[in-house]
Amino acid sequence: MFEILKYRAMRLHKFKDFLFLSVRKEFKSRYTESALGTLWIMFEPMILVATMSIIFTLLGRHGPEGIAFPVFFYSGILPWNLFATCLTRGTQVFISDRALISKVNFPKEISVFKNQSVFLLDFLFASLTFVVILIIFHVTPNLFYLYLPALIFLQVLLGIGVMFVTATLNVFIRDVGILTRNLATVWFWFTPIIFDYPFSGNTKIIYYLNPMAGIVDGYRKIIIYNQAPIFETLWCALIASPILILIGYVLFIKKEGHFADAL
C-alpha cells in the first residue's frame, strides 16, 4: 500500500507542471471566452445576495441577533457554493477529461486536483466581494481570522473526498451525477445559509451530522462572533473528510484502469 502511494506521489510530482498549467488554462480560457471573464465569479453571489437582501428586508427579517443579513448570508453561501460545486460539477471531472483519459496515460488524480484548485480559486475570488460587504457593514477583522485558512483547508479536503467518490462512481453509473445534483438542492436547505436553525440539545448533535452545517457555523463564529470554531459543530467534517478521501482514493485506484473503457 505504502509502495503504491509512494509511486503515485512521484508520478503526480512529475506532472505538477501540467496541473499548474491546466488550472491557468481554465482561467485564461474563461477570461477570453466571456467579456467579464473572472469577474463573473464575484458578481454571481452578489446578485443572489442582493435579491435575498431585498426580499428579506421586505419581509422584515434580519440576520439573527441583529446581524446584518448580507453579512450573515454571505458567510454561509460562499462556503456552501464551494462545497456544492464539488458535489455537482465535481462528479463530471473525469467525464470532462474524457479526451485526455482515453488517449494519454497520465495520473488521473490530476482531474480532481485541477478542478478542486479551480473551485478554490473561484471561492477566493468571490470572497473579495465579501470583503467589500464586511467593510460596508463595519465588520472588523480579528485574531480569530487566522483560523480561516485551516477551515478552508478542511473544506478542500472534504471536497476532494466527495469528488473522488462521486466522480469515480459517475464514470460507470451516470445516474450518480444527477443524484448528487438533486442532493445538493435538498442539502442546501439543511445547512444554515439563509436561516439559522435554533436547535439545541440532542437535536443539535444530529443536526451537526451535516458536515457543512459545522463548517458554515465555523465561518460565522470566526467572522461574525469573534470566536474560534468549535469541535462540537465541526467534528463531523473533521472525521468525514479523511474517511471520504480514503474511501474515494481506494475506489479511484481500483477503478481508474477501466476509465478509458467506460468513458
Binding site: F18, S102, K103, F106, D175, A262
Partner: protein, 430 residues
C-alpha cells in the same frame, strides 16, 4: 550490445474483453431492471471479446507492425501497451516511456494560443516547463507556425493544428513509439517534411505501428504481428505476414464485388465481364516479368494482358503513376490516356507500354492501369489494377524514403509505345 536484447514489451496470455455493466454491476443491474421493469430472472451480461490470449515480446529497437482488419483489436493493443486500458486477463510488462502520434493534438485547448498549447500538451506528457522552454522555438519552427504561434488555435486551420500536434508529439520523444496510422500530416510540402522528420525520429526507437497500408509497414517495420478476430495468428517477418494477411483478405473479398485487388492480381468483376485485366506485369531489359525493383535510369516496360468480350467499341486505357508515400494516400504524379479501337485488337490481347523514370528519385511508386469501354463506361465495365514498384540507385544519397525535392517541377518521362495486337498464348508472359 546486451541492451539490444532487452525485452521492452511483453504480453503474456493477454486477453481483453468488455463486459457490459462490469463495474458496480449490482447497482447498474438494479438500475437496468428498474428501467426495463424486469424485476425477476437473470440479467444476461454481454461480453465482447477483443483480444484472446495474445503472447509476444518486443525487444528494444524493434519496429513491429500490427496488421489486421478493422475492429480486430489493433488499437486496443496500443491502448494496453500505453497503459490507458488494462487487460482483462494476463500480464503486460512495458519497460520504458510510451507515447506517440496516437494522441496527436490531445490536450489542446482551442481558446489558448499555440504557444500555451505547446506547454500544456508537453506537460501532459510529463515534461517540465523548464525543459519545454528549451524546445519551444524548435517546435514552432518545425510546425512552421512562427507567425501564428500567439493566436488562439481555434483560429488555426485543421492542417496547422495537425502540424503543431505532430511537432509536439515528435519532441515528446518517448522510448516506445506507438503509431496509429497517422504518419504524415499537413499539405503536400509539410508531408514531405514530416515524413523526413518521422524517419529521423523513429531511428533507434522501439516502434509499434498499426496500419492497413502494406507499403507503410514495409517501409517502417522489421517484423509484423497479424491479428485476426482478437487472436494473434502471425508473428514474424514482414513479407510473410503481409502475404498471409493479403491471402486472408482476398478470401474474404472473393465474392463478386467491385474491389481493387492490389499487386497485379486478377480483379474480379460483377456478372459478365466486358473487359477484364488479366494481369499487369512490369519488366525491363535484363529483368523478368513481375519484377518490382528497378533502377532510376532504366526503361521499364509494362505488359498488360486483357480478357475481352466482343463488342466493346473502343478501349480506353488510363495509366496513372503514383508515388506511394508512407502514411498517406498515394499521390498521382502523372496520368496518360490511350484509346484503342476494337478493330485494332482481337480478344485476349497483350499491350505493352514503355516508360522511363529519369526524373524520379529512388522511392516507392505505383502504376495503375484502368481499362474501360468507350460505350457506357460504367464501373462494372471498368477494370483497374495497381502494381507497386520501387526505384533504386544510382541516385542514392537520400537515404530517406519517398522524399522528392522540388515537387513542383516533377515530370514523368513517360512515353507510350504501344505494341498492338500482341497475341498472347496460354503460357505466361515473357
Amino acid at each position: 550490445m546486451l541492451s539490444s536484447e532487452e525485452v521492452v514489451i511483453h504480453f503474456e496470455n493477454v486477453s481483453k474483453s468488455y463486459v457490459e455493466n462490469a463495474h458496480f454491476s449490482f447497482f447498474r443491474n438494479a438500475f437496468s431492471r428498474l428501467k426495463s421493469l424486469q424485476f425477476f430472472g437473470d440479467v444476461v451480461l454481454k461480453e465482447h471479446i477483443v483480444l484472446k490470449n495474445v503472447n509476444f515480446k518486443v525487444k528494444k529497437g524493434e519496429r513491429v507492425g500490427v496488421l489486421g482488419r478493422n475492429g480486430v483489436g489493433k488499437s486496443t493493443m496500443l491502448k494496453l501497451i500505453n497503459g490507458i486500458s488494462l487487460p482483462s486477463r494476463g500480464k503486460i510488462s512495458v519497460n520504458g516511456s510510451t507515447g506517440g502520434v496516437l494522441e496527436l493534438g490531445a490536450g489542446f485547448n482551442p481558446e489558448l494560443s499555440g504557444r500555451d498549447n505547446i506547454f500544456l500538451a508537453g506537460t501532459l506528457h510529463g515534461h517540465k516547463i523548464h525543459d519545454l522552454n528549451k524546445f519551444v522555438s524548435q517546435i514552432i519552427e518545425m510546425a512552421e507556425l512562427e507567425n501564428f504561434i500567439d493566436v488562439p488555435i481555434k483560429k488555426y486551420s485543421s492542417g496547422m493544428r495537425a502540424r503543431l500536434g505532430f511537432a509536439v508529439s515528435i519532441t515528446a520523444s518517448p522510448d516506445i513509439v506507438l503509431l496509429d496510422e497517422a504518419l504524415a500530416v499537413g499539405d503536400a510540402s509539410f508531408k514531405e517534411k514530416s515524413l523526413h522528420l518521422m524517419h529521423q525520429y523513429l531511428a533507434n526507437k522501439t516502434v509499434v505501428f498499426v496500419s492497413h497500408s502494406e507499403q507503410q509497414i514495409r517501409n517502417i517495420c522489421d517484423r509484423v504481428l497479424y491479428l485476426n478476430q482478437g487472436v494473434l495468428v502471425f508473428d514474424g517477418p514482414v513479407e510473410e505476414g503481409l502475404q498471409k494477411y493479403a491471402e486472408d483478405t482476398k478470401q474474404l473479398s472473393a465474392k463478386p464485388k467491385i474491389e481493387l485487388v492490389e499487386h497485379g492480381s486478377r480483379r474480379q468483376l460483377n456478372e459478365t465481364p466486358k473487359v477484364l485485366v488479366n494481369a499487369v506485369r512490369l519488366f525491363s531489359k535484363g529483368r523478368p516479368a513481375g519484377a518490382t525493383s528497378f533502377r532510376c535510369d532504366e526503361r521499364i516496360s509494362l505488359e498488360l494482358l486483357l480478357d475481352l468480350v466482343e463488342g466493346f467499341g473502343e478501349l480506353i486505357i488510363k495509366v496513372r503513376f503514383l508515388r506511394a508515400v508512407v502514411g498517406q494516400i498515394s499521390q498521382t504524379l502523372s496520368e496518360s490516356r490511350l484509346v484503342i479501337s476494337e478493330a485494332e485488337l482481337s480478344s485476349n490481347v497483350g499491350i505493352q507500354l514503355d516508360f522511363g523514370n529519369e526524373t524520379l528519385i529512388p522511392s516507392n511508386y505505383e502504376v495503375e492501369v484502368e481499362v474501360s469501354r468507350s460505350k457506357q463506361p460504367d464501373s462494372a465495365m471498368t477494370s483497374k489494377v495497381r502494381v507497386p514498384y520501387s526505384l533504386k540507385g544510382p541516385r542514392d544519397p537520400a537515404k530517406l524514403v519517398g522524399i522528392i525535392p522540388e515537387i513542383g517541377t516533377l515530370r514523368m518521362g513517360l512515353s507510350f509505345k504501344v505494341h498492338k495486337s500482341i497475341k498472347v498464348t496460354a503460357s505466361p508472359l515473357s
